[in-house]
């Protein structure tokens, strides 16, 4: 699904990301871990063509991301609050995203109904603009909006941060469901090793911009990761 070729990003002389080669097959749930500054957000930003690669490129479903806009219809993401439109209510925002992804109102409503318990009655019919929601509730909106329209690729940057424990557990279930029941490729970054080992089939560790570990998740993975980060 996603192929990274000789990708690097430099700011002035500092190389913040360098990935020689990486392939993420269709339908995989892919976890990205690493300390601050490891290049996780840089990598996701490159996947969304928000920044320009210094060398190399990413190909998503045969489309070169920095050369064509055709990856947009099948890619969805939630990176930070700048993916929300503050002056819309949650419903308006969902419908707006739905319209962009060719989804009718009823289709969006049906999708939202599935996630009712995830919202915990904090989001829908609240008569509030998104800018007036708390950080955690904003995140819930952003994550669910990224699932509208059955995108082939879903990118979530730190989805667990800022969420309350109940929502974290429900989010894990949502991601696992997506992984098992659909062909969606999910890319997740996290600082929480437990969450990420629980939901991802494969985990790549970035260190100073370079992939240093590429693990198929198993029982031993959490321990291995903890040992690595405890060095």
């Amino acid at each position: 699904m996603i192929r990274v070729e000789n990708l690097s990003k430099k700011y002035n002389q500092d190389e913040v990301l360098h990935i020689e080669h990486l392939e993420i097959p269709k339908g995989q749930s892919f976890g990205l871990v690493g300390n601050n500054g490891a290049g996780k957000t840089t990598f996701f930003s490159l996947l969304l063509d928000l920044i320009q690669p210094t060398t190399g490129h990413i190909v998503s479903n045969t489309i070169r991301i920095d050369a064509s806009e055709d990856w947009k219809p099948f890619t969805a993401a939630f990176i930070d609050e700048s993916f929300l439109i503050g002056y819309l209510t949650a419903e308006e925002y969902f419908y707006f995203i739905g319209e962009l992804r060719g989804q009718s109102k009823t289709a969006v409503d049906a999708l939202l109904a599935e996630f009712e318990d995830f919202f915990q009655d904090e989001i829908l019919q609240k008569k509030k603009y998104l800018r007036d929601l708390s950080k955690g509730n904003q995140k819930k909106v952003g994550i669910i909006a990224a699932l509208i329209g059955q995108p082939d690729v879903v990118i979530l940057d730190e989805p667990f941060a800022n969420l309350d424990p109940t929502t974290q557990i429900r989010l894990k279930k949502i991601i696992k469901d997506l992984d098992e029941n659909t062909e969606t490729t999910i890319l997740i970054s996290s600082h929480d090793l437990i969450h990420v080992t629980e939901v991802c089939e494969r985990i790549v560790v970035l260190d100073k911009g370079e992939p240093v570990k590429d693990i198929q998740t198993s029982q031993a993975t959490l321990e291995e990761l903890e040992a690595y980060f405890n060095k």
Partner: protein, 491 residues
């Protein structure tokens, strides 16, 4: 924490901001403009005495100057209101560190007194005072007068701060000025006579400068109290929130693919403080014609009437359009990664401007009162706005990478101004262009030929719509990464 530390923070913020390098050309132009005004004011200050002496031989020049000072100060205030950059400061990091609030506020207020707008009048007053001394006016009185003038100028600085940041003061002052203007216009009472006497006292009684001194102190204290009151993070504290309704605007669905954007833009305008302000301003532009069409002086120079006519229908286009990608700066990354071709985005903005021009044109119907010539001029201006100004504005937007805070709450520290000198500079061709297009055929052939040229240029622009949009799209596309990075910069 000392003032020098604030200064060094500010210098760093200025130097490290992404907009620093790009505007170097504009900065040079602004510098030249500043030098020009300094030279003009200085020479005016040097020759004013003798000019007045020649024109009004029976009057004392200082008295004549004092009689007209009120207009000087009014003009000064008007220019300040539109052009003076008020301090913007990020107070959040300072709220929890051991630095006195009063220190921050005094620093903020003191900084405004260094503005060029406070220096410029001195380039007139000081040479003028020197000439007075040369002409053997008593030293103590001239000095008293000069000090009073400096104090008045500084008072205007703080008055401007208040009217810029606080609507009550703004509307209060505007209504006072309008009432006096009306009283004067209808020959009921002429405040300028009283003002003349008042300013003459500034000269005849050397200690009268105590009055502006008192005024300055009072205004400063008002400013201080006002800023002190806003020294909180509103958003964090404000709990009471208005309940809002989900709106559909389904009547916009007929615009097909552009419908979601148009709906969004409508909500953007209706639900945010900044765009609402712009909407209000563009409504005021509708009345621009009243100033020009009623003046005898302009009736023989129709080029100026064209200027006004373009403004009547173009108010929204110019003031909203110039900030086009900036309005979406808060969620630009979303737009850039969603299923939105740039072309559609730009086209929807263009339609929005088109609708605004049409609405303004309908609202401008009463101008028929001033004659069909005027109305035809407004129509030609509207066509020009749709066909050319809209594209120039979108093009200018590509050069503008300043993020906009849509719903500015902490007003005292944020930049709430509608435009700044840079934007004004980009706006110049949009206003001078139509004047020129009209003026050349008008001079060579006649009035109607001028109007025809103006309307035709708009129609040609309209026919080239997809060409223009393609060009603009490629410019936006080229600047995409830079724009994202600039909008990402937190203020």
């Amino acid at each position: 924490m000392r003032y020098s530390q604030f200064l060094s923070f500010e210098w760093k913020q200025f130097k490290r901001s992404s907009s620093f390098q790009k505007g170097i050309g504009i900065k040079i132009v602004l510098l030249l403009a500043a030098l020009y005004f300094i030279a003009a004011f200085t020479s005016l200050g040097l020759v004013a005495y003798y000019l007045i002496q020649k024109s009004f031989p029976q009057l004392d020049p200082i008295v004549v100057v004092n009689n007209y000072l009120i207009f000087w100060f009014l003009l000064d205030l008007t220019y300040r209101f539109f052009l003076q950059q008020l301090p913007v400061m990020n107070i959040k990091p300072f709220m929890l560190v051991p630095v006195k609030r009063s220190t921050i506020i005094h620093y903020l207020l003191a900084k405004t007194s260094w503005s060029f707008f406070n220096w410029l009048p001195l380039f007139f007053f000081i040479p003028f005072a020197i000439i007075l001394l040369v002409e053997a006016y008593p030293l103590i009185q001239v000095m008293g007068w000069l000090v009073a003038m400096i104090l008045f100028t500084l008072s205007l600085n703080y008055l401007n701060f208040l009217i810029n940041k606080n609507n009550t003061y703004f509307y209060g002052l505007v209504s006072i000025i309008f009432s006096f203007a009306a009283l004067r216009y209808f020959n009921i009472y002429d405040i300028t006579v009283l003002a003349g006497e008042f300013f003459n006292k500034m000269y005849s009684l050397w200690y009268a400068f105590l009055i502006p001194l008192l005024l300055l102190v009072l205004l400063y204290r008002r400013n201080y109290a006002f800023v002190r009151k806003s020294f909180y993070l509103d958003d964090a504290i404000r709990k009471e929130k208005k309940l809002v309704k989900t709106q559909e605007f389904s009547f916009l669905n007929r615009f097909g693919k552009m419908a979601p954007f148009l709906k969004n833009d409508l909500k953007l305008i209706l639900r945010n403080a900044r765009p609402k302000q712009v909407l209000f301003m563009s409504f005021l532009f509708l009345f621009y014609g009243l100033i020009f069409y009623t003046q005898e002086t302009y009736s023989d120079s129709p080029a100026f009437l064209v200027f006004a006519s373009v403004f009547i229908t173009g108010g929204f286009l110019l003031s909203y359009g110039q900030l086009v990608p900036s309005w979406d700066s808060e969620y630009y990354k979303l737009l850039m990664s969603q299923n939105i071709p740039y072309r559609q985005y730009l086209e929807s903005k263009w339609y929005l401007m088109l609708v605004a021009v049409i609405i303004s044109f309908i609202l401008a119907t009463p101008y028929i009162y001033f004659g069909w010539d005027i109305y035809a001029m407004i129509a030609a201006g509207a066509i020009f706005n749709i066909g050319l100004n809209s594209f120039i504005t979108l093009f200018g937007g590509a050069l503008n990478r300043v993020p906009v805070e849509l719903n500015v709450k902490a007003k005292a520290f944020g930049n709430t101004q509608g435009f700044n000198p840079t934007q004004l500079l980009i706006a110049l061709p949009k206003m001078l262009g139509p004047m020129l297009i009209f003026y050349i055929p008008y001079k060579l052939i006649n009035f109607n030929a001028g109007l025809l040229a103006l309307a035709l240029s708009g129609l040609i622009g309209l026919m080239l719509k997809s060409f223009f949009l393609n060009k603009i799209e490629s410019i936006y596309q080229k600047g995409k990464y830079k724009t994202i990075a600039a909008f990402n910069e937190k203020k």
